[in-house]
C-alpha cells in the first residue's frame, strides 16, 4: 500500500552491471518505499534476474556504474552477508540443495546470526522450535520438512515454499522474489502468494520478479515495471500487467 511520507528502503540510480564482461544492466532506476509491492516484468534476458542478483551481491556480477542505497547506506559497499543482515532478502529462482544440513539447523543459524546483529538474545533449539511451529503455518508446510536436508529431494513447489519459510523466519525489510512463481502449480502458487501476503506490513516491501501476470492476481502490486534491454522502460499500476498479458512485450520493445 502506498502511503505518503513512508520511508525509502531502496533507491537505485542509473545502475549498470556486467557479467563476464558483458553489460546486462544499462541504467536501472528504481525507488522502493516501505509498505510497497513492486513487480518487475519482462522477457527472458531483459535483465530482471541480474538486477535481483546484483542487489543481493552475487559474486559473478560486477557493478560498472550507478548507485544503490538501502535505508540510506551504500549497498555496494556491503558484503552479501552484510546486506542480508541489514534486511535484504532474496528468494532464489533456483534454490540450492544442501545435503546433510537440516532445514531447521540452517534456519536457526540464520535467525541467530540476525539476532546477534540486532543485539538480541539467541534462541536455543527448543525455543526456536516454538517459533518455527508458528512460522511454518505461513506456508502450510508439513513440519517434517524441517528435519529434512535443505531442499534435498524437494519438489519445485516445496523448494519455493521453503524460500518463503526462510523469509518468514528472517522477517526482512525488503524481499526480492526472483521468479518465485515459476514452476508452481496453481495450489502451490496460492500458498506461496498467501504466505507473502501474510508477511507484508507497512514497514517492509517486496519486489517480485516475474514473467507472468497470474502471480499478480494473488499478490497485488502497487507498481509494475517493465524491463527491456537492461533498463526499466515503462512503469505503471497493476493494470499494466493486464495490458502486458493481453498485448505481449513487443510493443514496448519498439517503444524502448
Amino acid at each position: 500500500m502506498i502511503k505518503e511520507g513512508s520511508k525509502t528502503l531502496l533507491e537505485v540510480k542509473n545502475l549498470h552491471a556486467a557479467v563476464e564482461g558483458v553489460e546486462i544492466l544499462k541504467g536501472v532506476d528504481l525507488t522502493v518505499r516501505a509498505g510497497e509491492v513492486h513487480a518487475i516484468m519482462g522477457i527472458n534476458g531483459s535483465g530482471k534476474s541480474t538486477f535481483s542478483k546484483v542487489l543481493a551481491g552475487h559474486p559473478d556480477y560486477t557493478v560498472t556504474g550507478g548507485t544503490a542505497t538501502f535505508e540510506g547506506k551504500d549497498l555496494f559497499s556491503l558484503e552479501p552477508e552484510e546486506r542480508a543482515r541489514a534486511g535484504l532478502f532474496l528468494a532464489f529462482q533456483y534454490p540450492v540443495e544442501i545435503p546433510g544440513v537440516s532445514n531447521s539447523a540452517l534456519l536457526r543459524l540464520a535467525y541467530n546470526t540476525l539476532q546477534n546483529e540486532r543485539g538480541l538474545e539467541e534462541l536455543d533449539p527448543l525455543e526456536f522450535e516454538d517459533l518455527l511451529e508458528e512460522k511454518i503455518k505461513v506456508v502450510e508446510m508439513d513440519p517434517r520438512f524441517l528435519s529434512r536436508s535443505v531442499n534435498e529431494g524437494f519438489s519445485g513447489g516445496e523448494k519455493k515454499r521453503n524460500e518463503i519459510l526462510q523469509m518468514a523466519v528472517l522477517e526482512p525489510k525488503l524481499a526480492i522474489l526472483d521468479e518465485t512463481d515459476s514452476g508452481l502449480d496453481i495450489d502451490a502458487l496460492r500458498i506461496v502468494a498467501s504466505g507473502v501476503n501474510q508477511l507484508l506490513t507497512p514497514d517492509n516491501a517486496v519486489i517480485m520478479v516475474t514473467h507472468y501476470q497470474r502471480l499478480l492476481n494473488y499478490i497485488v502490486p502497487d507498481y509494475v515495471h517493465v524491463m527491456s534491454g537492461g533498463r526499466i522502460v515503462k512503469t505503471g499500476g497493476k493494470e499494466l500487467a493486464l495490458e502486458l498479458e493481453a498485448r505481449g512485450y513487443d510493443w514496448l520493445k519498439a517503444a524502448a
Binding site: P80, A84, F89, I98, G100, V101, L109, A110, T113
Partner: protein
Amino acid sequence: MSTALQNLVNQPYKHGFVTDIESEVVPKGLSEDVIRLISAKKHEPEWLLEFRLNAYRHWLTMEEPAWANVSYPKIDFQDIIYFAQPKPKKKLESMDEVDPELRRTFEKLGVPLHEQKLMSGVAVDVIFDSVSVTTTYKAKLAEVGIIFCSFSEAVHDHPELVKQYLGSVVPSGDNFYAALNSAVFTDGSFCFIPKGVKCPMDLSTYFRINTEGSGQFERTLIVAEEGASVCYLEGCTAPQFDTNQLHAAVVELVALDNADIKYSTVQNWYAGDENGKGGIYNFVTKRGLCKGVNSKISWTQVETGSAITWKYPSCVLLGDNSSGEFYSVALTNHLQQADTGTKMIHLGKNTRSKIISKGISAGRSSNSYRGQVKVGSRATGARNYSQCDSMLIGDRCEASTFPTIDVQNTTAQGEHEASTSKIGEDQRFFFAQRGIDSEEAISMIINGFCKDVFVHLPMEFAVEATKLLGLKLEGSVG
C-alpha cells in the same frame, strides 16, 4: 575461486609441541641385532622373538608397494630409530606417579587421563612413543573378565592369548609395512572380551609420537569371544617436526560367534606445513576377522592428519551371516596425500557389508578412495552397499575413486554409488544471502556432507571430529 575459499587451511597445528623427557633410544637402523635388542629390552619370550625375526626375514624379500596414488621420496629404513622409550623412574601404580611433564603433555592434548574424566566412563591406554604409560580402569574391567592392557603386558601376563591370535588376521608377511611392523613393533594395546561380556564402557587409547626421527610401530589386538561386544576408540597426534616420521601400525580384530566390535579412530597426526614440509607417513594395516557366525565388525575413521595416509581398514567376513561396516571421512589440505578405503572380503553365506566413504580435498591435496569388495564362491546371498562421495574445496585439489568389485557367486548383490561435488559459489552465495559467514557456511556444508559417518562416532569423538574439520579448513575457504 574467491580468496575466502583459498584461505581456509592455514590453521597452525595445535599439537605441535615436544615433551622434554629423556628418551632411551636404540641406535638408528634395522638389523637382526636391533630386533634382538628390542625383544630383549622388552623381556620377550623366545616365540615372539622368532615371530619378529621371521617377519624381518620376510620383509627383506619384499618390495615397498608403489600402487597407491601418493608420491614421496624413498624412505631410508636404516635412518629410522626403531625403539624409543621414555626412561621410566619406577613402576607406575597410579596417575599421581606419572611424570608431571608427561601429564602436562596429555593435558595439552586433552587426553582424558585425570580422574574426573575417567568418571565419564572412558578407560584410556596411553601410548607415548612406544611404551604404554598407564592403563586406567583396568581393575574395574577385570571384574567382568575383560583384559585391557598394553601389548607388552599382555605378552607377559597372557602369553597364550597373544600367541593364539597375534598374526591370525594380518599375517607377518601380509604386506611390506605389516611385515616391518611385525619385526619391530614396540608396544600397543591388547583387549580381550570374554564370552558373553558386553564391555560396560568405551575403551580408548591415545597414540602420540614424540621423539624426532622415531617410527611408531604399534600393534593392537582386540579379541571378542562368543557373544561379546566392545566399542574401541583410538586417537592419534604427533608433535611438529620438519622431518617426516613413519608410522606403520598393525591392528587386528577378531570377532567370534555373535560378537560385535566397533572400532573408531580420529587421526590427527601432524600433516606437515602448508608447503608440505614434515609430517607423518601413516602406512597402517587394519583388518578385522568376522570369524564366527553373526559376528559384526564396524570401522569408523576420521582422517584429518598425516602428510601421507595409506590405510584400508578391512573386514574378512568368514562366519555365515557376519557383517562388516566401514564409515570414513578423509580430509586433506595443503599438500597432504591420502589413499584410503577398505576391503570387504565375503567368504561366508549371507554376509553383508556397507561402505560409506566421504573424501574432502582442499588446498593442493590429493584424496583417493580405494576399495575392494570381493565375494567368494561360497558366499551365497552376500550383499554389499558402497557409497563414495568426494567434495572439492577450491580448484587446485584432486579427488579420485578406485573401486574394485570382484564377485564369484551369482547370488551376490552389490550396489555402488559415487558422487563428486564442489562447494559451489551458488551454495556459498545462498548462505551469505541468509546472513551466514563464509567459514560458518563451509563448516555447515562439510558437517552435512559427513553426517552419515559422524552419526556412527561415539558422542565424544563426534564433537571432536566436527571441531577438527572446522580447524583444519580454517582460512582455506574465503
